[in-house]
Symmetry: C2
Subunit: 406 residues, 2 copies
């Protein structure tokens, strides 16, 4: 196989994202809409508030009547949900509450604390101002207003807004179905017998969780043994997947079985060496209509590559804008060396400094086999190819891992 | 009822948190462990790597043999998962790959790219260094090491680490079951007939989503009409709940039905006026063993109070440390006025400024009835009681809403 020259992280990500398309829409109950991505704009089905309503507990009256020491006759009450049916005439007043519809004829609100009630009579203790404490019909939104756009990951507040706009159902992108294929004679599922010199399979389960965090539906395929036939057999499992992710079997050694195995079943692929550390080799291709992303087998490399490539891929598949992982700025707690030609992603702790800025300290050893250390990292410090040595206190771009749920 | 004097947000939160206890533990499959809170420390069940293993593709040999131009005899291969059973003697070499167990007798690795193979013979093109490119047994962790503590919200990386430590099951805190009671004659479920002057119920669904975001299991109770009997009937629904949240019916008006209704069924309560805006009135109490948190009925107040009180309550119930919502620092995009005696929570947009700092701009109108505006806010700017007027460019504490998934 011919290898392309080293690709940059950005170019690899752009090529992957260009090969992916948002999933089609489905309709879900409002109660299931949280954290889903809207697939259509949501128009309000009613006007909110539906009429002019009181913003306070008190009384509705004509502003002209609401002068200091005026005495007015209580002609009724309008609890929320029970509007007063009549009209407020001169000298009359109607009891109401926060959210009550302001009755016809009234144009002012006398606050409860500014009124003295005696039987069916109310005395005004503070002059009213016309229109004050009245929320106008449509202040929040009017029927037909687009209250939520398409392509938005719905928050709890958005769910409340959709409810207020009277939507029991919401149209969202189907969760991307992502198959996960781990390969290797040396791995076994946790709790199952581990072969001599072998290890418990961690990538499939870490990736499944990461896919959930990214809004996808993970489908963990059985581990494939290190034969072309075993890998090729996965081709029968990919019907209906939106993406197949493989881990392992993609290096330049004797065990490049993912490529050779899937090629026997029609894989068209790019195989890239990415100018990055950890995680140099990356596959991207397609088996029929199913895109295939091949991650390194090393657990740390697999997760770092997932953050850089799979999480953005999930966002694109989910209907969100294609974008790199969000970065922020940290202050180095220790000096870092000059970088070589490969973009580096230093596993680091983060603490808030006295001035509220984030102090990031890369671990002293960055061995890509150290999963425990990765799990306890708070951020990746991004080091561009050929980035110069930096002293403690220098600003560096970081990807925070905690905020990604990853 | 006697009202306590105005409580601060911090004191109210501390009182609520003091009344809550973590849920008991349950065992879940590793595949369900993501985003759950560990209830016990997790000790590694194996040593990782299990033996000294190669960090690279290449050959294992005795360091003394690995001199420039030496020629060695290939006596076998050790693919990952298939350790070489014999011992490497002088003049011998064994083919291996990343992750392969280093065979007995060998103490050095000859990299693949530094070797020339000719049939069963390998020539050394670069002298080896004893121990180099060998990952020692236990470099990541050793059997018995605590790899994850109790009380940790498990990330995708943690799930991978638990798998690597050979755990098919994980002990986590049960998701807190939180009942949600919305009250009011004026509200109807979205899509159902709305009473005259009424509105679609938004709080219950926003809170359900927020409870999911906070790791809880929401249970939406039927809407209670504005009668004591209807509210009291909810007492029959709270068996097995870890928390009951009510919205509405808790102000100082004529409709304080939550208090009077639940009191008929044994509610012991504190009723507080919190020195905050939006959302002054807050209930906290207990019906038998079930804590009760009463939020305002106004949707914006309900959500802001949820962020300040319910999200921390969910964390405590879930087994996480009791803590206020995380704040960060923003730079005001516009001046703000002096604050009065109530802590304010200004709904604001956030953009990243040129220097990477967050510029926060409060909306000009902060009406607590504007749910659409709340949904489109990125942050709450925290204004302490009596905080002075601040110019544009001043630093202010903010709660980011996007990062909370709320």
């Amino acid at each position: 196989m011919t290898l392309s020259p080293l690709l940059s992280v950005e170019e690899a990500r752009n090529r992957i994202l260009a090969g992916l398309h948002p999933t089609p829409a489905e309709v879900v109950a409002l109660a299931e809409a949280w954290n889903r991505v809207s697939a259509a704009p949501l128009a309000a089905r009613l006007t909110q508030p539906p009429s002019d309503v009181s913003a306070m507990d008190g009384y509705a009256l004509r502003a002209a009547d609401g002068t200091l020491s005026a005495t007015l006759k209580v002609i009724g009450a309008a609890p929320a949900g029970h509007p007063f049916a009549g009209t407020v005439e001169l000298g009359e007043i109607v009891r109401l509450f926060t959210g009550s519809v302001v009755p016809a004829g009234a144009d002012a609100i006398l606050l409860q604390e500014d009124a003295t009630r005696d039987g069916e009579t109310v005395t005004v203790n503070e002059a009213v101002v016309a229109g004050r404490h009245i929320r106008r019909a449509g202040q929040d939104f009017s029927r037909g207003d687009i209250v939520l756009p398409a392509g938005r990951k719905l928050t709890a507040r958005d769910v409340g807004l959709a409810a207020a706009a009277n939507h029991p159902w919401v149209t969202v992108h189907r969760r991307p179905r992502v198959g996960i294929l781990a390969t290797g004679d040396e791995i076994a599922l946790p709790g199952e017998p581990i072969p001599p010199g072998g290890i418990a399979s961690s990538n499939a389960h870490a990736l499944a969780a990461l896919i959930r965090a990214g809004g996808g539906e993970p489908i963990v395929l059985p581990i494939a043994a290190d034969t072309e036939e075993a890998v090729a057999a996965v081709a029968d499992s990919i019907v209906g997947l939106d993406l197949l992710v493989t881990t392992g079997g993609a290096s330049v050694g004797d065990h490049d079985l993912v490529i050779s195995g899937l090629r026997t079943r029609g894989l068209e692929l790019d195989f890239w060496q990415i100018a990055m550390r950890p995680g140099k080799p990356l596959l991207f291709g397609r088996m029929g209509s199913v895109p295939v992303l091949g991650l390194p087998g090393n657990p740390v490399s697999a997760i770092v590559c997932s953050i850089l490539f799979l999480v953005p891929a999930l966002a694109k598949l989910s209907g969100l804008p294609a974008a790199p992982p969000p970065t922020t700025t940290g202050i180095l707690g220790v000096p870092v060396r000059e970088n070589d030609r490969r973009a580096d992603h230093l596993r680091s702790t983060v603490v808030s400094g006295a001035d509220g800025r984030l102090v990031v300290t890369p671990f002293d050893v960055q061995d890509s086999a150290m999963l425990r250390r990765l799990a306890h990292a708070d951020a990746l410090v991004l080091r561009a190819p050929h980035a110069p040595a930096l002293p403690a206190g220098a600003e560096v771009p970081i990807i925070r891992l905690d905020s990604l749920g990853i």
